[in-house]
Every structure is written in structure tokens, then in C-alpha cells.
């Protein structure tokens, strides 16, 4: 094996990193894809990232935060599973409408092949009726016209490539790797094993196909899948129906329905159904800056991100996902109540101590590659307000008994009463100096706003008075200390001089009118200082010094602000449409976007970005309806 660096075809925007030589006869190029070249498949338990080149480069089983089996996303030696024609002149891909079933079409000189990738999904009651693998990815390639030479390379590298994959060929029972359970690769073709890498070349004529099933079983004997065309077609159909039935529940019929549905589907992939929570993103250490060290593990439940996601799902009437999250929040995090952690694992536990994987070179040499997340120990005051804001949406005091929930809300309120004046790490999780962040203060103000609005039955007069008094104090502090008349703008921190996009929440959260003089002045300052491309915003002025990318969530907050009255409906629509241009070809968003290189940055796909898209679309819809009402 030797390594070289050359540029891949420009239209694919990929970089060839390695050539694997077999018996000096043939080679398979391993292309390191860019973040926006990936699409994602999953089953609300785990996900896999698949590049445009048909390479499955990221998979952690059985849970989001389990060690990886494939991690070529972070290092070429991390393992991958590629199924693609030897040479393609054109590659296009799409999801089957309203599903997470991915179809990649390869056009070659001699024919056209379509690769279908998915994780089978069935309704829970039907799933229980049959013997099915615990975890499964199915890949199916069929030649639609002409003939195509297809290459398959299966190079698993368990435990973030720390463990050697001992591939065993069990004949008709497939290839096996034992690692805290059993990974089994079944296929309709015969693999050649060499140095713990399985490869195979196929010459497929029109209507011929090859099918593959990768499964993982940890707590019982493996369950195999049938790989004949009829069985595969049945599984695709069942999965298609499941996703489409789920997407049909989305209550939004506005002009942006396709992108809203795609975002909801992406959020559903980040949902861990057995516990009800959401991970911020299914990847780790995709850099916020190429070559930089802002590489974090997002495979955990951030309360802030989850709260935004719950609001988005609630707005779409997807209560089957939103309610279980509230239950997770109340019961799984009970051990740490009323002091909340910033993030939890999917079962509501401490996520573990942050570690650096020194043996991985990182995405485009962006080191370190981290697993776990040290932000879990931070103090971030804003999460209390965000959680209460999300939870308050689900409360109907007349209809249901919420005694336990009310007790917990009062506890949260009392905690914030004791701590609202403390400096914190803030929404952007700065690891160094704690400061009094305006956004955190605003969310504390919002917490009391919501609690007092709910009119909790168990809230006695004394506590109510305390909450009202603290709320007034916070308002006073924001209005006096977080407003800087010298720069004629609200500032990111108390007594500060810099602005940040999170200040738009002063209007989104109802603290200020979007059209107030102060908000307009603040918005102008944000535009002037932080807008780095059309509808692309840096999070704050520190990001200018650090040469960071633009956060998608900031772009959507901008749309929300404009839609709420900070601008005209046309301006808001324009900003939204412009932001959508930055999504990749299958409508997925990462955390950030580099306006210079025009590449996605950060973990992918990101829940906060997609919830921002939905919340912005809903704000636009409300504004449009309001306008229609006024006109009518």
C-alpha cells in the first residue's frame, strides 16, 4: 500500500488519499470526502454517514456514542465500506421522497448503476413479530442500463481503529468480526480476504444486482437477512412506508414543506427512540475550523439543543417524539435535578471524561480527535430557561395532572433565583473565562416569564413574589448593563463592548419588540460586524479573531428575527432562501459553513441547525398568515 495526494474529479469535490494495490493487478481509490459530500441513513438508534462515492465512512454501533466500526471520516485508517463502480463520470443522489432511504446513481462510460442504502425500519408491533437483526444496514446495487464494473471494499476498524478487525469468513454465514458482540457481513458475492480487508469485483449487466447486509448483535445469537431481490425489495418498501407514514404526520403545508420535511427527517435520525432523547449530532470532531482544534464530540444530548428540537417538533405536531423527550428530561436527568448538566448521554447519565484519540489524524488533519465532552461540567445558565421554554409548550393544566412537572419547574426557578447573577460559560461553551452573558440572563428572564405565565397551582405567594422580583432584577440588569450606549447596541456580555447573534433572542424571546429602536440598532450592528456572506453570520466578535465559520443556527435566528417584525416578510423569505442554498445536495446541514471555501464545517448533520430551519420556517408561516389576515 502506498499513499499519495492528488486531486479527484472536481465535480465530486473529493480528495484521493490512498491507493490500495492488490496483487499488482488492480487498485481501489479511497476518496476522502468533504463534510457536505455525506448523506446520512439511520433508524432512530444509530446512523451511518455515506459519501457521494458510495463509501460508508462513519458508523458507531449499537448506540450513537459507541466506539466506531468505520471512521474514515476522521482518518483514512479509521475503516470504511465502499460500494461503487470502478470509474464514474457522474454521481447524483437523493433520498426516496420523505424517507431516509438513500439512492445514489452512478453513471459510467458503460452503464448506470443505482446504489440503495438504508437501515430497515418497521413499526414496533411488527418488529416484535418477526426475527430481525438488532442493528442492520442494507446496501443494494443494481445496474439499470448497460453494464458496470463494481468494486466493493470492506475494511472495518473497530473501536476507533484501536482494535484490529479479525475478519473471519464463515462461508454461507458471511464475514464475521467479534468485538463486544458480533458484526456480520452477508452478501450475495464472494469476498477475497487480505490483511483484514475484504474486497470483491463484480461485473454486473443490466438488471443484475448485488446485495449486502451488515448486522450487529450483542445480546443473543445473530439474526440473518435474506438477500434475494424480492426480500430486499420488501425491506425497502417497508422502510419507505414507515418513513413516509411518519413524515405524513408533519403538520406544515407552507411553501417550504420539502426542506422542513427533510429537516424533520434529519432530526428523527438524531432521536434515540428507546430513551426518547436526541443527540446534538451523530459525529465527533468534525472541525469548526479546518486545521484548528475546535473539534468536539456531539454524540450526546445537549439540553439546549434538545429544547430547540422539542420546540421544532412540537410546532410540527410531532408529539410522538416531543413528549418522550420531556419524559426523558424529567425522569432520566432526575439524579442531577435541580442543577442541570449541560449534556447527558442518551440514558441521562454523565457522558464520561473527555479523551483524545491521538492515533487518528482527524478530518483534513484537524486534530485532536476527541471522544466524550468536557463541556458537561460547565455552568451554562441559559439551559434552564431553554428547558422551561420547551417544557411549557407541553403543559395544559386543565387537561392533565402535571404535579411532578410543576414541582420540578419550581425547583428550577429557585435554582435560577440563587444563581442568575453568577458568570457562566455561556451558550458557546467557552472553556476559559466565565462571564455574565446577555443570552444567559435573557433565558433566565424567560424562565420566570414562562413559569409565571403557566400559573402553577403549587406556586405560593412568597415564591411567586420572589420569581417576579428576580425577573425584574434581570430585566433591569439587561437594560442597563447589557446595553452599551457608546456603541448604540446591546452587547454579548454585561458591561461588554461586543455584539453576538444570540442577542436577536431578545426579540425572539419577547424581551424586546423586534422593531424597537434598541433592537433595530443592535441588528444593524450585528449585520455590520458579523454578516460574512449573504445571510451567513459569525456567532460573535470572538469568531472574527478566531477566523471561524458561520453558524447555520445564527442564519436561522436572523430569519426568525426578520419574520417576527425585524424586517419585511420579503426580507425574511429572501434570507431563508439564501440560507437554504448552503445545505448540501440532499438538504442536510452541518453546524457551520465557511463562506470562503464554501464548505460545510463542524459535526454533521446538526440537530440545532435543522431545528433552526424548522423554527424559522414556522416563523415565516406565521408572519405570512398574519399578513394574509391583515390583507383579508
Amino acid at each position: 500500500m502506498r499513499t499519495c495526494q492528488i486531486n479527484c474529479k472536481k465535480n465530486l469535490n473529493l480528495t484521493v488519499k490512498n491507493f490500495y494495490f492488490f496483487n499488482n493487478e488492480r487498485f481501489i481509490s479511497i476518496c476522502m470526502a468533504k463534510i457536505h459530500d455525506y448523506a446520512v441513513i439511520g433508524n432512530s438508534r444509530s446512523v451511518a454517514l455515506i459519501s457521494k462515492e458510495g463509501s460508508l465512512d462513519w458508523l458507531c454501533w449499537p448506540k450513537f456514542d459507541s466506539p466506531s466500526l468505520f471512521a474514515a471520516l476522521l482518518d483514512e485508517k479509521g475503516g470504511f465500506w465502499k460500494i461503487a463502480p470502478r470509474k464514474s463520470k457522474e454521481i447524483t443522489r437523493e433520498y426516496i421522497e420523505s424517507t431516509n432511504v438513500l439512492k445514489t446513481t452512478f453513471v459510467t462510460e458503460t452503464g448506470v448503476a443505482v446504489l440503495t442504502d438504508f437501515m430497515p425500519v418497521l413499526p414496533e408491533d411488527e418488529k416484535n413479530k418477526a426475527l430481525l437483526p438488532d442493528n442492520e444496514i442494507m446496501r443494494y446495487i443494481e445496474v439499470r442500463s448497460g453494464f458496470v464494473d463494481v468494486e466493493i471494499v470492506f475494511q472495518p476498524r473497530p473501536n476507533y481503529a484501536l482494535s484490529k478487525a479479525k475478519l473471519k469468513d464463515k462461508g454461507k454465514l458471511g464475514l464475521r468480526i467479534e468485538r463486544c458482540g458480533l458484526f456480520t457481513l452477508q452478501s450475495s458475492c464472494r469476498f477475497k480476504l487480505e490483511d483484514n480487508l475484504a474486497s470483491c469485483s463484480l461485473h454486473l449487466n443490466q438488471n443484475e444486482y448485488a446485495s449486502f447486509s451488515l448486522t450487529f448483535d450483542a445480546e443473543g445469537p445473530a439474526v440473518y437477512s435474506m438477500l434475494d431481490k424480492t426480500s430486499i425489495a420488501k425491506k425497502i418498501e417497508e422502510t419507505r412506508l414507515w418513513w413516509q407514514n411518519w413524515a405524513a404526520k408533519i403538520n406544515y403545508s407552507g411553501q417550504y414543506r420539502p426542506v422542513v420535511v427533510r429537516s424533520a427527517l434529519a432530526l428523527k435520525l438524531l432521536n434515540y427512540s428507546p430513551s426518547g432523547t436526541f443527540v446534538a449530532a451523530p459525529t465527533t470532531s468534525l472541525p469548526e475550523k479546518i486545521g484548528g482544534s475546535l473539534n468536539w464530540d456531539y454524540r450526546f444530548s445537549w439540553l439546549r439543543d434538545c429544547a430547540f428540537i422539542a420546540e421544532a417538533l412540537y410546532d410540527l405536531d410531532l408529539t410522538d417524539e416531543a413528549y418522550p423527550f420531556i419524559d426523558w428530561l424529567l425522569y432520566s436527568t432526575k439524579l442531577s435535578f435541580s442543577k442541570l448538566r449541560v449534556l447527558y448521554d442518551i440514558y441521562g447519565r454523565y457522558c464520561g471524561k473527555e479523551k483524545i484519540l491521538k492515533h487518528l489524524s482527524g478530518y483534513q488533519n484537524s486534530t485532536p480527535v476527541r471522544i466524550k465532552n468536557a463541556a458537561s461540567g460547565q455552568f451554562q445558565l441559559d439551559i434552564y430557561g431553554e428547558v422551561v421554554r420547551a417544557v411549557s409548550l407541553f403543559i395544559n393544566p386543565q387537561a392533565e395532572n402535571h404535579d411532578l412537572l410543576f414541582k420540578e419547574l419550581i425547583k428550577l426557578g429557585k435554582f435560577v433565583c440563587r444563581n442568575w447573577n453568577q458568570p457562566d460559560n455561556g451558550i458557546w461553551e467557552y472553556r476559559e473565562n466565565k462571564k455574565k452573558h446577555t443570552y444567559s440572563l435573557l433565558m433566565s428572564w424567560l424562565l420566570f416569564e414562562r413559569i409565571l405565565k403557566i400559573d402553577i397551582p403549587g406556586l405560593n405567594k412568597k415564591t411567586r413574589a420572589l420569581f417576579q422580583s428576580v425577573q425584574s432584577s434581570i430585566r433591569e440588569l439587561i437594560e442597563t448593563k447589557c446595553w452599551n450606549s457608546a456603541i448604540n447596541s446591546y452587547t454579548d456580555t454585561a458591561d461588554g463592548t461586543e455584539v453576538g447573534v444570540s442577542l436577536l433572542h431578545l426579540a425572539i424571546g419577547g424581551f424586546e419588540s423586534p422593531s424597537s429602536t434598541r433592537m433595530r440598532a443592535t441588528y444593524q450592528k450585528i449585520q455590520k460586524k458579523l454578516e460574512v456572506g449573504r445571510s451567513l453570520f459569525l456567532r460573535n466578535e470572538i469568531a472574527i479573531e478566531e477566523d471561524e465559520g458561520a453558524f447555520f443556527i445564527c442564519s436561522f435566528w436572523n430569519v426568525q428575527y426578520l419574520a417576527l417584525g425585524g424586517g419585511t416578510l420579503e426580507e425574511a423569505n429572501q434570507a431563508f432562501k439564501q440560507t437554504l442554498q448552503y445545505a448540501n445536495d440532499v438538504g442536510l446541514l452541518s453546524e457551520e459553513y465557511d463562506s470562503v471555501s464554501q464548505e460545510a464545517l463542524g459535526n454533521f448533520p446538526q440537530g440545532l441547525s435543522h431545528s433552526g430551519l424548522i423554527n424559522a420556517a414556522m416563523a415565516l408561516e406565521k408572519r405570512a398568515l398574519k399578513k394574509e389576515g391583515v390583507n383579508g
Binding site: 418488529k127 416484535n128 413479530k129 418477526a130 426475527l131 430481525l132 464463515k170 462461508g171 454461507k172 454465514l173 467479534e178 463486544c180 458482540g181 458480533l182 456480520t184 452477508q186 448483535d217 450483542a218 445480546e219 443473543g220 445469537p221 445473530a222 439474526v223 440473518y224 437477512s225 435474506m226
Partner: protein, 155 residues
């Protein structure tokens, strides 16, 4: 009689603890209740419940068989119980697992691979398809089962 039933229950519970403990720490994937249950149903949840019932029933049956052998040979001791347990384990590992795919209605065969309705992984030689440590776990579990049944000598 009550003593025998209690011993039988204790022995089967100990056997289950060892087996599930081994599954929990990834030493084996041999899930006996699941394998027993899938004889009768393809429904995962039901298979586990039925399998547990059958597992305990078999525990009683084997206790009686062990006792019958002990009494007929006039040798009631924990050491003979241990011997019987190990003997049974060896039989299960070498003979029973080899022929299991032939009569389990949902188990695939190593020769033919998965077939419609026969999708369950076979145990393979000494049950090692379910993990290389499986034979040791089986030996220990049966040994403990036999020891507990052999405690009848003290009752």
C-alpha cells in the same frame, strides 16, 4: 419434595445468572431462553417469555433426572452433582449444538446459510459461534447447576 423444588429453582437461577452475566460482559451471546422460545415463535418478546418458562421447566426436569441418577447409583453428593453437570455440558457442547440446526425450526445451517424462516445463527462447534468463551461459560454454568443439585445430600 419441597426441598427438591427449591434446590431446582436455586440451581436454575444460578445457571441463569452465570449465563446472563456472561452475556452482559460480552463473553458469550448464547441466550438459552431466546433459543428455546424461538422453537415456538418468531415473536422476539414472546420468545423470551416462553423461553424463560421453558428454561425453568427444563431446570426442574434436569434436577429430577440428576436426582434419579444419583439415587439409582446410591451416590448422593455434590461431587457427583458436579460430575453430572460437567458431563451434561460436554454433551450439550459437542453433540446437542451440532445437531440443533437440524431440528430448530428457525435456525440457519452452516452448510446452507440463511433460508426463508431459518435466520437464526447456529451455535457452531462447541457453541463458539456465540463467542470463543462460550464453552467455558457453559461448563461453569452446568458445573454450578450440578453442585447445587448435589447439595441434596445435605438436605
Amino acid at each position: 419434595m419441597v426441598n427438591i423444588l427449591i434446590l431446582s429453582l436455586l440451581a436454575t437461577v444460578a445457571f441463569s445468572i452465570i449465563m446472563y452475566g456472561a452475556i452482559g460482559i460480552h463473553l458469550t451471546r448464547l441466550n438459552i431462553p431466546f433459543l428455546l422460545g424461538t422453537f415456538l415463535t418468531a415473536n422476539r418478546s414472546k420468545a423470551l417469555i416462553i423461553g424463560f418458562f421453558l428454561h425453568f421447566l427444563l431446570g426442574f426436569v434436569f434436577t429430577f433426572v440428576y436426582l434419579l441418577i444419583m439415587v439409582s447409583m446410591n451416590w448422593l453428593s455434590i461431587w457427583f452433582g458436579l460430575f453430572l453437570g460437567l458431563f451434561q455440558a460436554l454433551f450439550v457442547l459437542t453433540v446437542f449444538y451440532a445437531i440443533l440446526p437440524k431440528f430448530h425450526p428457525r435456525m440457519a445451517s452452516e452448510n446452507w446459510g440463511p433460508q426463508e424462516a431459518k435466520l437464526l445463527e447456529p451455535p457452531g462447534f462447541l457453541g463458539m459461534n456465540y463467542g470463543y468463551i462460550t464453552p467455558i461459560v457453559i461448563l461453569i454454568a452446568h458445573a454450578v447447576f450440578g453442585l447445587i443439585v448435589g447439595m441434596i445430600a445435605f438436605v
